[in-house]
């Protein structure tokens, strides 16, 4: 088909998309730039758009003055643990939601969706109490448990969408051949759906990696803090040190950006399927 887009529209499109890309990238550029400025040149007037000299001092002080390596390790363990368990559990519930019709299916979906709509802060106090009773306050394991519960509902719905794209006949054939449903799921469906499963895992990982309010409430000791909790400590003090702060922001953003870019096609598919199906 011949593209009959008039020239003025083409220009607008290129200009508009280009402008938005600049606007989107600018904050990222700015935080990178700040992180590489020499600490004494950060609060400087006039503002400089290119550092006078590149320095890694901000990163160094992050690992020397604060135990940032420990925070990163905590975030990494908590996020991978929670995302792994939640994705596995949601694989089962998503499978059921996709494959079976039963009377209360609508109720199950609503029960999952409702958890996304109630402000979670109502639960903070009771969770703290409950964790005190269970001895799980200030424990990374306790945090993992909550994060599993937090990510299960949406990943079930996301995985349900991916299951919908895999024909029933696949596991039915396997079951005729004598496999149980569980092993048909594991040996036949999972390999086909692997990209979707990885995308769900990454989505969960990033959500846990970014979570702030639960971890601020439940973690007290410095050695167990996740990155967002540590950053919250940085901004609560009256004088924010923007040098280390920007370095910390860069180190927090980069891993998740890489993961998202890697799986963006599948994450987008998973999210939009849920929305367009309703």
């Amino acid at each position: 088909m011949i593209d009959r887009t008039p020239n003025y529209l083409r220009f607008l499109k290129v200009f508009g998309l280009g402008l938005w890309m600049l606007i989107t990238l600018f904050p990222l550029y700015w935080i990178l730039l700040t992180s590489f400025k020499r600490p004494d040149q950060i609060a400087e007037y006039p503002v400089r758009y290119w550092p006078r000299e590149f320095s890694l001092d901000n990163y160094a002080s992050l690992f020397q003055k604060a135990d940032f390596a420990q925070y990163m390790l905590n975030s990494l363990t908590v996020a991978s643990g929670a995302a792994l368990v939640a994705t596995s559990i949601a694989l089962l519930s998503g499978y059921v939601l996709s494959r079976f019709t039963f009377r209360s299916k609508g109720a199950v979906m609503i029960a999952f969706l409702v958890t996304q709509m109630i402000p979670a802060f109502i639960a903070l106090g009771p969770l703290y109490q409950m964790f005190t009773t269970l001895g799980l306050v200030d424990s990374r394991f306790g945090l993992v448990l909550i994060y599993i519960a937090m990510t299960i509902p949406f990943s079930s719905i996301m995985l349900r969408g991916f299951f919908d794209n895999v024909p029933d006949s696949l596991e039915e054939a396997a079951m005729v051949d004598g496999l149980t449903r569980m092993s048909a799921l594991w040996r036949v469906i999972v390999p086909v759906m692997l990209p979707g499963i990885i995308a769900t895992f990454i989505f969960n990982f990033v959500n846990v990696w970014n979570e702030l309010f639960l971890s601020v409430t439940l973690i007290n000791s410095d050695a167990k803090k996740t990155i967002p909790t540590a950053l919250n400590g940085f901004i609560s003090s009256f004088n924010i040190e923007w040098g280390p702060m920007s370095a910390a922001a860069v180190l927090t953003i980069l891993p998740t950006m890489v993961l998202f870019a890697f799986a963006s096609r599948w994450i987008v598919a998973g999210l939009t399927q849920g929305a367009t199906k309703g």
């Binding site: 593209d3 508009g16 950060i42 009377r103 402000p119 009771p126 599993i148 299960i152 950006m257 870019a261």
Partner: protein, 314 residues
């Protein structure tokens, strides 16, 4: 409204009735229950249970500083909130926060989706780049913008002064009105990618034949868009907007990081105010405010859907 896990699993077990094309055996029912059980167990223990306990707190005087005495106070917490001078202000702020963020997000997101509909070279790369804010937490976005809106060394003021738009630095986060504008700008920046993705997916679901047919019938570019394409994707747009209203209403992270509700509590929305109550240990008040939020959103959802279905019929 909220199904308890027990009820749900019992209902599932009870619903082993034959399906149209596949016999529904007792064994299948157990598969359903068994596969759903782990998910429900986690959500029940760590989400529903604390939410229910939290809901109870709304009707009790419940403060972290006096855990031995938590008397039932009926609607006392709600009254305390409503007579608080901050209440009306905060609720209006919440509305402004939702409307002021959502409309620009929607419009810009729609335009970007239109721009990305047709394939071009580097489109995949462009999408990956422009959608990166998705991978960043709202809290960090707030920190980034807090630094950019810094009144002394912030880049926003520097750009405004270099281009001659203002002569003296603007005290962005020190002035309540400007601070609220700043948090909305940050939120618009953050949320555009979401709408762009959702609308792009919807646009791509419109079959090309439909456009071509409209073109053959003599409809121009804009008429095709407004009279063919948009009506086709209407239900997706409606649902996306509804979910986003709820989500933005409940989204305190950016404000929390940029202003924490200040200066002088003037930039609070309902959920940042709730955070402040929980930080003060006032769980009863926080919970009551949570009830009000859920109530407002439920009423809004009802009205929104009712208006739309009536419009759909006429």
């Amino acid at each position: 409204m909220m199904a308890t896990p027990h009820k749900a699993s019992r209902a599932i077990a009870a619903s082993n009735r034959p399906r149209a094309h596949r016999p529904f055996t007792g064994r299948t029912a157990w598969t359903i229950v068994g596969f759903l059980a782990p998910a429900f167990l986690f959500v029940a223990i760590f989400t529903y249970y604390p939410l229910l306990v939290g809901g109870r707190m709304a009707f009790h005087q419940w403060s972290l500083w006096n855990l031995n005495e938590t008397p039932f106070v009926g609607l006392g917490n709600f009254r305390t909130l409503i007579v608080d001078p901050l209440f009306t202000h905060t609720m209006l702020n919440s509305a402004l926060w939702v409307i002021g963020s959502l409309i620009p997000q929607f419009v810009i997101g729609f335009l970007i989706a239109l721009g990305l509909r047709k394939k071009f070279r580097f489109r995949g790369l462009y999408q990956a780049v422009v959608f990166y804010p998705w991978a960043v937490s709202g809290f960090l976005i707030g920190i980034l913008f807090r630094w950019m809106f810094n009144s002394e060394f912030g880049v926003v003021n520097d750009l405004l002064m270099r281009t001659g738009i203002v002569d003296t630095p603007v005290p962005w986060l020190a002035n309540p009105k400007l601070a609220f504008l700043a948090v909305i700008i940050a939120n618009v920046w953050y949320g555009v990618a979401f709408f762009a993705i959702m609308i792009l997916a919807a646009l791509q679901s419109v079959p090309d034949e439909l456009r071509e047919a409209a073109a053959i019938d003599g409809a121009g570019r804009y008429r095709t868009l407004f009279q063919v394409v948009i009506p086709t994707i209407r239900s997706t747009l409606v649902l996306t907007v509804l979910l986003r209203v709820i989500w933005i209403f409940n989204f305190p992270d950016i404000i929390f990081a940029m202003t924490s509700g200040g200066p002088g509590n003037q930039t609070h929305i309902a959920t940042t105010w709730m955070i402040q109550f929980t930080q003060q240990g006032q769980y009863g008040l926080a919970s009551a405010l949570g009830f009000i939020v859920v109530g407002v959103l439920t009423v809004f959802t009802g009205i929104y859907l009712a208006l739309l279905s009536r419009e759909g019929k006429s």
